[in-house]
């Protein structure tokens, strides 16, 4: 310890406030050691303890259509078949990725995968939701390049297919990119694991990778003097190794088939600190740990370094007494370390020893009993004016073909193939609907007739204009995307990316966003089974657009009954479920053609949304539909263009008008799905629409090699498919070509 700094100063340096430091004094009845301070500072931080968002998270529904497990573990899930659970979670790795995109994204994947298999679920799919600044500058390209490279490097090697995700570009993310990764796993409920430590005397083991000085830069205030001037010794970014993770997955799966262990937890933030504290706390026990036994990568590490280290690919295991040799043998088979570092104690004390002396000794609960903050929330004063911007006087485009081509080629709408073809999206041979083929991904589950749909969504421009509606739309669109591939929306995970919560307007955005998610999820009867909070996402001059990313899972009763978005054959009917409204607020069209981000986001009526979704889902199940694709960024014109180019088939469409042709084509009205079907199915679809109370009308036919859209008698769009395809497929390749 640096003697001349007082423990209070140290606490402040570690990001605690004076009140928190006094709480520690109260709990211990003495001055805390450096190690103890470090432990409290992380456990009580927003990252682990959620002191600022915890109360909000309570708003989320924890039950829904399917039997749900949403409490007490790192990830949650639902039961979709007898003994078959889907376990999933989304987590952010924004700040590490901004510092070191490749390793930041890679370790993000490693971390979220461990959250899944620590529960005994085998990871079967990954999705990544990414946001960057505008694609027009080299720095953004370098970030995008690094992040995608990190995802392919880790995901491909670890053998989990990356089946979906999203990439958006907006200036608000220029200095604070978002990297949200979602992992999905399948567990046999008979072999599911818990993270509760139980049974005094049971051995506590550290397994997997060795422990080094990864990711402890934040604590370097604790560095003793001979080290402190040389921060080389303390890399602040963690470095991941997917090969070790792959071996760790196999070892853990094998381990959990047997009964040698009581509990297991993955090491993420502040590795040994969090895992020992949380496992002991949730098990209502204590632990006595000797850091001398932790497998080390480098010599001379101080106790707090070992406690804080974020070295990757490690787990904490509580084994049954007398079974430790089995555990060690199993990990040795996979060339992994496994060592007994201590044991579970009756007395609820977390005691950490090092070189014979006790470096930390604290009541287990005290680490979980961190402070809770109720922060003031205030609607930003600029919002009202922005919302009431008058959009009725906008000039109409002179050339609608050009507008459509512009929209198809903006990086937000253009094909993301450049990224997803670098991901192995087929390994494990379950991928039924791959990236680019539908609104969501679909995988099969070997040994079950069920299928799984999965998607991640958030239009942050809507959330910027109204975080409550924006968040609701994120949920509605995720559900709609699942319906479009034939999946029944079943459960949600979320990643709340917002700015500094101490600023009242940012906290208001967070609060409204959470309320929006909660209300929408109740309407869809889907629980929020897991998630993650990432605050303090700020650039130098402003916060990022509020981005409550929604990850949603859907269930296909029979996996064969999936749908994709491509038109399948010429001469089919094209029909629209839902109605186009006179609204342009927050649309991509408004941003691209009028460079405005103003007005109100599209309105959302959850009942109308449900009727459309239930109807289309029923239609797909009955095999009435050849393709389905929802209307989102760019409006119905882009939707039709995308179904056409995916099937390499032209289309001839006629639309009624709501008063302005740009609204008819590019409005982003919600609750709309464009389908295609053979002519003889139209009547049955009509009846179905009436049954479900969903608006339905035939708007055109497929075929030919041109895309034509007529509005109120005027052929406003008439383009050769080749041009449409090029506009959509090439922009990102071109931007990223060196």
């Amino acid at each position: 310890m640096a003697k001349e700094t007082s423990q209070l100063q140290v606490a402040l340096e570690l990001g605690m406030n004076e009140q928190e430091y006094n709480n520690v004094l109260g709990i211990l009845g003495r001055e805390p050691s450096g190690t103890e301070l470090a432990m409290y500072s992380v456990e009580w931080s927003e990252h682990c303890g959620y002191p600022r968002s915890r109360t909000l998270l309570k708003l989320f529904p924890k039950t829904g259509k399917y039997p749900t497990r949403a409490e007490g573990e790192d990830a949650g899930g639902i039961e979709i078949d007898t003994n078959c659970y889907v376990i999933f979670k989304m987590e952010s790795h924004n700040h590490p990725s901004q510092v070191e995109p490749r390793q930041g994204a890679a370790t993000g994947i490693g971390g979220i995968l461990r959250d899944i298999f620590t529960m005994g679920a085998r990871p079967v799919a990954l999705l990544d939701s990414l946001r960057f600044g505008a694609l027009d500058n080299e720095k953004t390209k370098a970030l995008l390049h690094g992040v995608v490279d990190g995802i392919q490097f880790y995901g491909n090697c670890v053998g989990v297919p990356t089946v979906g995700g999203e990439i958006y570009f907006h200036p608000s993310y220029r200095d604070n990119c978002l990297v949200n990764v979602m992992a999905v796993g399948i567990a046999d409920s008979r072999y599911m694991a818990t993270s509760k430590a139980k049974g005094p005397g049971n051995p506590v083991m550290v397994v997997g990778n060795r422990t080094g000085r990864d990711g402890i830069g934040g604590c370097s205030i604790l560095a003793s003097h001979e080290f402190s001037e040389d921060d080389q010794k303390r890399p602040t970014v963690q470095v991941g190794d997917p090969f070790i993770e792959k071996c760790l997955i196999e070892a853990c799966m094998e381990l959990l088939q047997g009964d040698a262990i009581v509990g297991i937890k993955d090491m993420g933030a502040a590795g040994i600190t969090c895992t020992t504290a949380e496992m002991a706390e949730s098990g209502g026990v204590g632990m006595d740990i000797d850091l001398m036994h932790v497998p080390m990568r480098e010599a001379g590490m101080e106790p707090w370094e070992i406690m804080m280290s974020e070295s990757q690919e490690r787990m904490l295991v509580v084994a049954k007494q007398g079974r430790e040799e089995e555990v060690i043998a199993l990990f040795t088979k996979w060339n992994l370390n496994a060592a007994v570092v201590g044991h579970v104690t009756e007395e609820k004390i977390l005691r950490i020893r090092f070189h014979g002396d006790i470096v930390a000794e604290l009541p287990t609960e005290s680490l979980a009993a961190g402070p809770v903050y109720y922060l003031p929330a205030e609607e930003p004063e600029w919002l009202a004016t922005l919302n009431s911007t008058d959009l009725t006087g906008l000039p109409l485009p002179s050339d609608y073909n050009k507008v459509l081509l512009n929209l198809l080629s903006t990086p937000n709408i253009a094909s993301k193939r450049w990224a997803y073809q670098q991901y192995d999206h087929m390994v494990q041979t379950n991928t039924v609907v791959p990236p680019g083929a539908g609104d969501a991904a679909v995988i099969r589950i070997k040994g079950s007739e069920r299928g799984l749909g999965m998607t991640s969504d958030c239009n942050s421009r809507y959330c910027y204009l109204d975080p409550y509606i924006g968040a609701q739309i994120a949920v509605a669109e995720a559900a709609r995307n699942l319906v479009c591939v034939g999946a029944d929306p079943a459960a949600v995970t979320d990643c709340l990316n917002f700015g500094k919560p101490e600023k009242a307007d940012r906290f208001w955005q967070l609060k409204r966003g959470v309320e929006g998610i909660a209300d929408a999820c109740r309407a869809f009867q889907v629980p929020v089974v897991s998630g993650n909070v990432s605050l303090y996402n700020e650039g130098p001059d402003a916060a990022i657009f509020p981005t409550p990313t929604i990850g949603m899972i859907g269930v296909l009763e029979k996996v064969e009954q999936y749908a994709t978005m491509a038109f399948k054959s010429a001469g089919q009917q094209i029909a629209l479920f839902g109605v186009t409204k006179a609204e342009l607020g927050g649309s991509e069209y408004l941003a691209i053609e009028h460079n405005m981000e103003a007005g109100m986001p599209p309105m959302l009526n959850l009942q109308a949304e449900l009727s459309v979704q239930n109807c289309v889902l029923a239609a797909i199940k009955r095999g009435l539909v050849s393709s389905a694709h929802d209307c989102s960024e760019g409006g119905i014109a882009v939707t039709i263009a995308e179904s056409a180019l995916a099937g390499n088939l032209g289309a001839d469409v006629k639309l009624d008008t709501v008063g302005r042709a740009d609204m008819d084509l590019f409005a982003e009205s919600q609750s709309r799905i464009v389908i295609s079907c053979s002519a003889d199915k139209v009547e049955e679809l009509q009846q179905l629409a009436v049954e479900f109370g969903a608006p339905f009308c035939v708007i055109g036919t497929t075929g030919g090699d041109r895309l034509a859209i007529t509005v109120a008698g005027n052929k406003l769009i008439d383009l050769p498919m080749t041009e449409v395809i090029t506009a959509h497929s090439e922009p990102i390749f071109t931007a990223m070509a060196n």
Partner: protein
């Protein structure tokens, strides 16, 4: 008739191959841990895709020294069948069971997509159910699938008809545009002179199910079973 799928640390297509072969052929399939050395019960050994030993140093460089590889070499020497897919192909070249080498794709990126292949030989135990010059679609998924061999080795390969698959377009034209990684002569797969060891970058096990968008891979495994039949019969004939 028994298949074995070798599991190296870091293999990640082992379960896929196991599942595909078992469902397509109905034959017995067992996993072979890379430290096992007794594979005498196997008629055909599969070296699956993945990142054996993290592909440290070079793809397949370390896996080649796993104990099982000695037995695989003997297995091949007996004329029994060996199939290396993707990382398995890399292991076979590193082990010297197949000529040449595979290195970094010319565009320096990992690429995963469906890919048309032209089948250059249908007189092999792996391919006799396909038609001559048939065009099939198998997915590729690799970062280091660029095939190289020195001029004279390459000539020898061509002269002995050891090239089994070439990257091509839908019509079977072998062109530079259709070459996904810069492989010499658009080589996607080759066999040894004797014709009992096959190495290929594309993944037949990924196209063995309608649900996954294709079934072109089935015939490869069915051909093997058929060949094993014939082999078994002729062997009985010898006694």
């Amino acid at each position: 008739m028994k298949f074995g799928v070798v599991v190296f640390p870091g293999s990640n297509c082992d379960a896929d191959c196991h599942h595909a072969i078992a469902t397509v052929t109905g034959m017995e399939v067992r996993d072979v841990w890379h430290e096992d050395t007794d594979i005498s019960d196997l008629d055909c050994v599969i070296l699956p895709g993945g990142f054996s030993y993290g592909d440290y140093l070079r793809c397949g460089a370390v896996a080649r020294f796993s104990p099982v590889m000695k037995s695989v070499v003997e297995h091949a020497a007996m004329g029994k069948y060996v199939v290396g897919i993707c990382n398995g192909f890399q292991v076979l070249t590193e082990a010297g069971l197949l000529p040449g080498a595979l290195y970094r794709n010319d565009h320096l990126q990992f690429i995963c997509k469906p890919q048309y292949l032209r089948i250059e030989r249908v007189d092999l135990p792996f391919t006799h159910f396909y038609e001559a010059k048939q065009v099939v679609s198998f997915p590729i998924a690799h970062g280091e699938g660029r095939y190289f061999a020195d001029a004279e080795t390459l000539k020898k390969l061509e002269d002995n008809n050891q090239i089994v698959f070439r990257y091509c377009d839908a019509a079977g034209n072998v062109t530079a545009d259709e070459n996904p990684n810069g492989s010499l002569n658009n080589i996607a797969g080759i066999c040894n002179e004797r014709g009992n060891v096959l190495g290929m970058m594309p993944h037949p096990e990924r196209v063995c199910d309608r649900l996954l968008g294709g079934t072109d891979g089935k015939k490869l495994f069915k051909s093997l079973v058929e060949s094993l039949h014939i082999q078994a019969i002729s062997m009985r004939g010898l006694r």
